[in-house]
């Protein structure tokens, strides 16, 4: 875009092919997922992903508010992705901006693609995603948290939805961008995968890539999603596994 007075671009890729935080191109940031972290919610999850901290809660199926959104043949899925004012470097004005509303829409549509909504007509399944600390990739972290929260709430679904962003950094295709890479990189491509079918239910892109780079990005993202999928299942297993109780003979 030429010199438009933006800040100095940091070195994003070392001569050895390592990234700004020392990761390889196909390496994810550390991810920790915990299911069932809120008492009041029907389902919840907390995700710490690199320097992202995201909490998700699910309420429902319950009555639809506002009422006119009610559907006679299925549940509506309402999603609210919100960033806390203190979650970014410069204070963000509280409330839903246009970016948050767009993200809420595509996340709701991703879940509507996998939830058996027809089992709960005239109800609403409300998904709340709160970004507490942001460092690029918050929509994917939010989607992963919300997906685990939906499972925690016992909502029947085709599958969990792992998600990750692939991007182009200093000319190279890289998995799971962090903030500097997102700000100064050439492209960002978030996606969410249905592992069982291998299909994508969320796919966005901004920046520029050739056809060949895009094709490689899809493969890299799908592989990343499969790794995250295992972590999501592990989090649910940890929440619901029970130690067999040794029955002592009287």
């Amino acid at each position: 875009m030429g010199n438009i007075g933006a800040k100095e671009v940091p070195v994003l890729l070392s001569p050895e092919g390592l990234r700004i935080d020392g990761r390889k191109l196909d390496e994810l940031r550390p991810i920790e997922i915990r299911a069932g972290v809120l008492r009041q919610a029907d389902g919840s999850a907390f995700v710490e992903w690199g320097q992202n901290k995201v909490m998700a809660a699910v309420y429902g199926p319950r009555e639809v508010h506002p009422r006119h959104l009610q559907q006679n043949n299925k549940a509506v899925i309402q999603c609210r992705y919100n960033m806390a004012a203190f979650s970014v470097d410069e204070r963000k004005r509280p409330g839903l901006d246009r970016r948050s509303q767009e993200i809420s829409k595509v996340i709701a549509e991703a879940f509507e693609s996998v939830v058996f909504a027809e089992e709960f007509p005239r109800t609403s399944i409300d998904v709340y995603i709160e970004v507490l600390q942001a460092n690029a990739g918050t929509r994917c972290a939010g989607l992963v948290a919300a997906s685990v929260a939906l499972a925690d709430a016992g909502i029947p679904m085709v599958d969990l939805l792992p998600a990750v962003a692939v991007g182009k950094v200093a000319g190279a295709i890289a998995l799971d961008l962090k903030k500097e890479e997102d700000n100064f990189g050439e492209a960002d491509l978030p996606m969410a995968l249905v592992p069982q079918s291998g299909r994508l239910v969320l796919l966005q892109m901004e920046g520029h890539m050739t056809e060949e780079e895009l094709s490689r990005s899809l493969d890299l993202g799908v592989a990343g999603c499969r790794v995250i999928y295992e972590k999501m299942k592990a989090a649910l297993r940890e929440r619901y596994s029970v130690e067999p109780v040794a029955t002592e003979a009287a």
Partner: protein, 262 residues
């Protein structure tokens, strides 16, 4: 209720036709509706275009005004894109603050214009950190007969291609001059109807669809933006083949925009 029943019958019919590679309006799966572009439709705007894509009708107007650059980009002008889905254009639109659908159209169009570097923002700087041109692209949907995103970007791109910087009016230069436009992005939207994926969906096809995918390309052979919308899914191989189709349609549609007519 009657409307709902009709809709369901119609949707099933659309899906049945698609299974045989047919469409309700007789088009082939990979065929766009007739496109007409009318640049300069509104004389009070600095650039404008009325676009008709089949029965979908979108009007875009460009206005440039001196303003203040953002603190983090002191040497660049400002670009704002806004789409209004006004209640006049469809029974499904209501008055009030922009709904998620309208926000999605504006943001997906804005993303393509920005990522393709359509306008030279550095060239819109007047005095660094103090004064720059703010370029407003306002998109008015007049008739919603499907595929608003493609029609909105076609209208915005055509309006920008024919826009004038009103430098004389604001006493910034001796004369007005044409706005410099570099790469022209074109968005190409597909929907899945069963196993068939069709381009340029109508309103009814969108309602019957199982997923929508928009792909923006520019003439430098780059993919610059994508957006998957609605309920449904696409495989990576679907995406790859749709990108190929988007480049072919993009080249043809771009020639129309450059030519400034149908």
């Amino acid at each position: 209720m009657t409307e709902e029943v009709t809709t369901e019958i119609l949707q099933t019919h659309i899906l049945d036709l698609a299974a045989d590679g047919k469409r309700l309006d007789g088009r082939a799966p990979d065929e766009y509706r007739a496109l007409s572009l009318e640049p300069g439709y509104v004389v009070t705007a600095d650039g404008s275009a009325l676009v008709r894509l089949g029965e979908t009708m979108v009007l875009a107007g460009v206005k440039l005004e001196p303003g203040k650059p953002f603190a983090d980009t002191p040497n660049a002008g400002v670009l704002t894109t806004n789409a209004e889905l006004i209640p006049l254009s469809s029974p499904t639109f209501e008055p009030g603050p922009p709904q998620p659908g309208a926000i999605e159209v504006s943001r997906v169009v804005d993303r393509a214009i920005r990522a393709a570097e359509t306008i030279d923002l550095a060239g819109l700087c007047i005095t660094p950190a103090e004064k720059c041109w703010t370029c407003y692209v306002d998109i008015h949907v007049l008739a919603h007969a499907g595929n608003l995103i493609d029609a909105a970007l076609l209208a915005a791109a055509t309006a920008l291609s024919h826009a004038t910087v009103p430098a004389k009016r604001f006493g910034i230069a001796e004369a007005d001059y044409p706005l410099k436009v570099h790469h022209l992005p074109i968005e190409c939207t597909f929907v899945r109807l069963g196993d068939t994926i069709v381009v340029d969906p109508t309103f009814d096809e969108e309602r019957a669809s199982q997923g929508r995918l928009t792909i923006a390309t520019d003439e430098a052979g780059r993919v610059v933006a994508m957006q998957k919308g609605l309920i449904g899914a696409f495989s990576p191989d679907d995406v790859r083949s749709l990108v190929r189709r988007a480049f072919v349609h993009g080249d043809r549609l771009r020639a129309s925009v450059r030519g400034g007519g149908a």
